[in-house]
């Protein structure tokens, strides 16, 4: 008898649990799962955006895509952008976290200032940087000329390779605070005893960094790198707003290509095919990340 009432209670609890998750499931299915499947479905059609009429072309979009030069060059640009900006974010982010972990003056103010680029809108960041980069009156040219780094005003966003370098640098500036905060949080949990022991063993500051700090940071760094790699790979706003993919198509990454194809060249089917392929590439990183977080959860 007691076991029966228990299962009854458990069943009632399960029903309540389902009821509580129901709104989530409904929203998920209608705004995420349905559009996701729909995107895959659309990628088998050729659709003219203004009329939204289209024909079934099967795998046509995909075979065409693999043969177009613009796809491969965009993929290349995406990889350069991701690797470049991610590397800078990690190096600068870890370095900054180590500095901010020290007992410097007005530490919490310094931390807030460092965090700020991450919280402002990409639109704001881009407007400010466009003004800094302004060819005639921008302070960047003035500064670089006055320290003798360049002799003439430079065009930061209109020529190559300047445009790609600028985009990578602005991306690093905007997103490295994420690395700072995540690493800082981890640094605070490293037991002091480890450093004491290393000191007694005669390890200098550099040896202590490589032998104590870095191994302790390893796990959190893997997660940060995966997350940032995924987010940088799909970044749209920053690049679109800074250069629009230009000059020509030299800073055009895959997300910009999807947008361009769908809303400027008016072929939604082909754009969906690009998006699906892009997602397939990201899937590798997403699955590794998901596996890692799940094993950490222990569930």
């Amino acid at each position: 008898m007691p076991s029966q009432t228990r299962t009854l209670l458990e069943r009632r609890y399960a029903a309540l649990g389902v009821m509580l998750i129901a709104p989530t499931v409904v929203v998920f299915c209608s705004v995420i799962v349905y559009p996701l499947l729909s995107a895959i479905y659309l990628s088998f059609f050729s659709i003219f955006t203004p009329t939204l009429e289209g024909d079934f072309v099967g795998l046509g979009n995909y075979t065409e895509l693999l043969q177009t030069e613009v796809f491969w060059s965009s993929l290349g640009t995406t990889l350069i952008w991701t690797v470049g900006t991610l590397t800078l974010q990690i190096l600068f982010g870890v370095g900054m976290a180590l500095v901010l972990h020290q007992n410097i003056w007005f530490r919490s103010l310094a931390r807030s200032l460092i965090l700020f680029p991450y919280f402002i809108s990409t639109v704001v960041a881009v407007l400010v940087w466009k003004w800094l980069f302004n060819d005639l009156y921008g302070i960047m040219n003035h500064f670089l000329i006055s320290i003798g780094f360049i002799d003439f005003p430079m065009d930061y966003l209109g020529t190559m390779p300047n445009a790609l370098i600028s985009v990578i640098l602005v991306g690093a500036w905007k997103y490295f605070p994420f690395v700072v905060i995540a690493v800082l949080a981890r640094l605070q949990t490293i037991p002091d005893a480890l450093y004491e022991a290393a000191k007694i063993d005669g390890a200098g500051p550099i040896a202590r960094f490589f032998d104590v700090t870095l191994p302790q940071l390893r796990d959190v760094l893997v997660v940060i790198i995966l997350l940032r790699a995924i987010w940088d790979f799909k970044e749209f706003d920053l690049i679109f707003l800074l250069t629009g993919g230009g000059p020509l198509r030299d800073t055009q990454t895959l997300p910009l290509l999807v947008y361009q194809e769908a809303f400027a060249l008016n072929d939604m089917g082909k754009a969906s095919a690009y998006a699906v392929v892009m997602m397939a590439i990201m899937l590798v990183f997403m699955l590794i990340y998901i596996r890692r977080t799940r094993t950490e959860d222990g569930s």
Binding site: T24, V99, I104, I120, V123, W131, H142
Partner: protein
């Protein structure tokens, strides 16, 4: 010797901090300079004449206030809807057992990482077919696609941090499951809910791509696309005006940031922040 090292470290640290923050300082300075002073060479580090004319100009002669109002409505609505649904969802995912729970948690994490450009074409078609395009409501729907997985994931880890014994004790005392949720779980979860709400608000406030694609009338445009439009459509770019707009656009974020810093860092620890 230690003091010299300490001073050197501080100078080094603050040089970098100020260099990182410089663009934001420059935004502020530019916004209070009269237009003619922008063309001074070399540039003046602090304004010789302070003026707030650009702010007045922004409020009186542009659509800025409409965009601002739209952004407030849009971000608030998205935050309320998403946090309400996600709080119930997270409670269910963490504290109940039923079939499909694990795969649902997997789906949440998966969609949390999903790129917007994949969803944007079908969403665009869907909202056009429903006749919702060009409304703030359509953006609320679109924003749930990234805000809901994000809020769920964050709240899930906050929820997992609440001891299960608290709930059991309430149940033993005769409370119903929902009663225990209301009286025991919710008060415990409040800091988590607040920080999730803040992050969701920031995400919605800063969103650009959906706003660009789904809305092309000034009456429904939020700040991000609205301000960007001021840049694109201007005959000659008034940088002071744009910097004033940037400052005003960042004010709500600064307020959130300054007054609730403790909540923010807690959120960072719990689930990371979407970028």
């Amino acid at each position: 010797m230690p003091t010299i090292r300490k001073i050197a470290l501080n100078v080094f640290a603050w040089t970098i901090v100020l260099a990182v923050a410089f663009p934001l300082f420059w935004m502020l300075v530019t916004s209070v300079k009269p237009s003619f002073e922008l063309f001074r060479r070399p540039p003046t580090m602090l304004p010789e004449t302070w003026t707030f004319e650009h702010y007045w100009h922004l409020i009186e002669r542009t659509n800025f206030l409409t965009y601002f109002r739209n952004s407030v409505i849009l971000s608030t609505a998205t935050t309320l809807v998403v946090v309400a649904i996600a709080t119930l969802g997270a409670y269910s995912l963490v504290r109940f057992k039923y079939n499909g729970r694990e795969s649902l948690a997997f789906l949440v994490l998966f969609t949390y990482l999903l790129p917007s450009v994949v969803l944007i074409i079908p969403l665009y078609l869907l909202l056009v077919n429903l006749g919702l395009a060009n409304t703030i409501f359509s953006l609320v729907i679109a924003y749930t696609t990234f805000a809901l997985p994000y809020a769920l994931w964050l709240l899930r880890s906050f929820m997992a941090g609440i001891p299960e014994d608290l709930e059991s004790a309430a149940l033993v005392d005769g409370a119903s499951r929902l009663g225990a949720f209301w009286d025991v779980i919710l008060p415990q979860l409040l800091p988590g809910i607040i920080s999730t709400a803040l992050f969701t608000f920031i995400l919605s406030w800063n969103e650009y791509l959906y706003a660009l694609v789904l809305v092309n009338s000034d009456s429904a445009r939020p700040l991000t696309t609205g301000v960007m439009n001021m840049l694109v459509s201007a005959f000659n770019i008034e940088w002071s005006l744009l910097m004033a707009a940037s400052v005003m656009m960042s004010v709500p974020l600064i307020i959130v940031f300054a007054f609730l810093q403790s909540y923010l860092t807690r959120g960072f620890g719990a689930g990371g922040v979407k970028g």
